[in-house]
Symmetry: C2
Amino acid sequence: MERWDHVSPAELAILETIFWSAGVSRAELAQHTEFSRSKANNAVASLLERGMLDETGPQASSGGRRAETLLLSRSLGYVAAIDLGATSLDVALMTPDLTVLAHHAEPADVGAGPGVILSRVREILRELRERCKVRREQIFAIGMGAPGPVEFGSGLLFAPPIMPGWEGFSIREYLGDEYRAPAYIDNDVNVMAMGELWRTHRRVPNLIVVKVGTGIGCGIVCNGMIYRGADGSAGDVGHICVDPNGLRCHCGNQGCVEVMAAAPAIARMGTEAAREGQSAMLAEVLASKGVITPEDVGNASRSGDTTANAIVKLAGTLIGQMLASAVNFFNPSQVLISGGVSRIGPLFLAAIRQSIYHRSLALSTRHLEIQYAPLGERAGIIGAGALALHETLRRRGRMP
Amino acid sequence: MERWDHVSPAELAILETIFWSAGVSRAELAQHTEFSRSKANNAVASLLERGMLDETGPQASSGGRRAETLLLSRSLGYVAAIDLGATSLDVALMTPDLTVLAHHAEPADVGAGPGVILSRVREILRELRERCKVRREQIFAIGMGAPGPVEFGSGLLFAPPIMPGWEGFSIREYLGDEYRAPAYIDNDVNVMAMGELWRTHRRVPNLIVVKVGTGIGCGIVCNGMIYRGADGSAGDVGHICVDPNGLRCHCGNQGCVEVMAAAPAIARMGTEAAREGQSAMLAEVLASKGVITPEDVGNASRSGDTTANAIVKLAGTLIGQMLASAVNFFNPSQVLISGGVSRIGPLFLAAIRQSIYHRSLALSTRHLEIQYAPLGERAGIIGAGALALHETLRRRGRMP
């Protein structure tokens, strides 16, 4: 890692620009960094010489001489990315330009505790390394998303409601036993937001990623950076009130958007509709399976079941109402919808959109885009890799 | 202004640190900028030589040799600050360390249009300059807050509801006829937030200032900078819904916090209480004056009138409910309450606090301070001066 030791501020600005742009020409570099061509070229030459950049085939050009593309060098090593969900575990090995070399996904129960989960992470990482012939020392950055509140500075989880046994457990130290690379751990939604920000090449500096699953949470990008708030709990929107007279939530308040519209609420409304004879389709599912899941409600809605449609619309409307508050307050350029529940059908997104447009100021929605998160299920793993790489650059060069 | 032309990045970092700290020693400068002592000292020496810094008497020291305090030099010139409210106009002349040399306040009707208001601004500025013996050319930065949505880049107002005739009017050009100094115009609440941020020496990087008057709006400080959002409408929280079945607002929706809890709502509830015989005290005011103002409700509440107390509490609770959404989303360190309505009595702040703590996550309120904005009515004028000075530094040196 010695080559990192003598990186100048100008060289670090070049490295960071290349990270965000995922491949760039010398002319674009000078433009982005506002350096003179000669200053940018000198920094690039020095980085190429030390093996920190690779130069690859000509970029598609608008005419004239074709430009070479500069990338973070593969000789820097590899990035390990881990995306832990409530019920799933994804692990990937990536190059420094975030190309995925190998990816493994499997079901997991986060409630099994850190010992079980993290020893499995280490096993999978070893398998992936063997498959790609990557040595342990070649991993130079590790990034991980976890489904609970994380104190980002220490990498420790803070009173994670669905992760008993994880509080105070140092994932960083555990992984540090095997890898000398620094490990960066963040909340799953922040990691997804980092993935989407990287995807836009940081050209959308203010955006929100909302994840709707068992709970509801937001990742916030502000001025081109993940915004975590004063205590790291920014974006924890599940307990925003959407109806002062609504259902009682486990937090003690009434009408939290989570208790009214997340996955368990959709399953509950579906079950009630089945029991009360409002939907023959859902009644049939309940009779045959014994339970109704949000997917069942989504399937019934897609088949035209009126009651299922009403449930999907209600959930979307309430989530949209919460997001309208966020849009009025934060005025982002994009609201990206993700998480398991986002797949319950087109009416869901339509209801969210209608509710946000209805409830937000015209000025705030003039240019607002509301859509499914483009990286979809890959946002977490790409974001974990992007987080690891970006934090490593920042720590090396003390970037702001 | 030639001395601005050859300011190095290191010198600009020094100037900006001095701006935020409002007086600092050489040792503190080196610490804040993370420059070596010799690099910081060289930059300071060069700035002193060119008359951009002043060195004043020894700072209170914790022991040992007393340190000199460095300030932006008075020889740079003067800052003009303008704080335009819906019904008031404040103008001040300040030194580069934001010491107020002269300040004039008078009632004004913003609805009279830009011609009337701004010619009065120019008159007052001339009077203040004469009083302080400041020549026109000595004004090097102008800052202004206005009670409507502002497109900050252009300085133009955008569809300002209470400012007919101002849309598209260039305040910048109008003032530019008399002053060569750059003029920066922003929304009144953003300007107040800038004032409070400067007051904290930027040590509270994430805070919200909420102004409750005829309308309700927020100024947002994010990572030590005013956050304006994608379209400049961030913080426009007046139409966040606090009751889906609440009163109809002029925006067409039901239950907006503004229609439920701002000054007109408090006056309306007071008037109803007087008419319906719920409050003898308010009935008496209505009989003698013909109208009830929020101040009347506040006075009745302070005298122990039960109905007036209930009105003040209800307004505070609803505003607190809206702020709880903002706190859950944004996780600031401070929520600062300001505006005319904030003076209607101690029950108002108590109800806001109770509502925020009740409705927000424990993690988000662990270190949260909720209080009246410490600069009070001076926040606008101080903020306008701070905005002018900071933007001038940024433009000179292209600071981020």
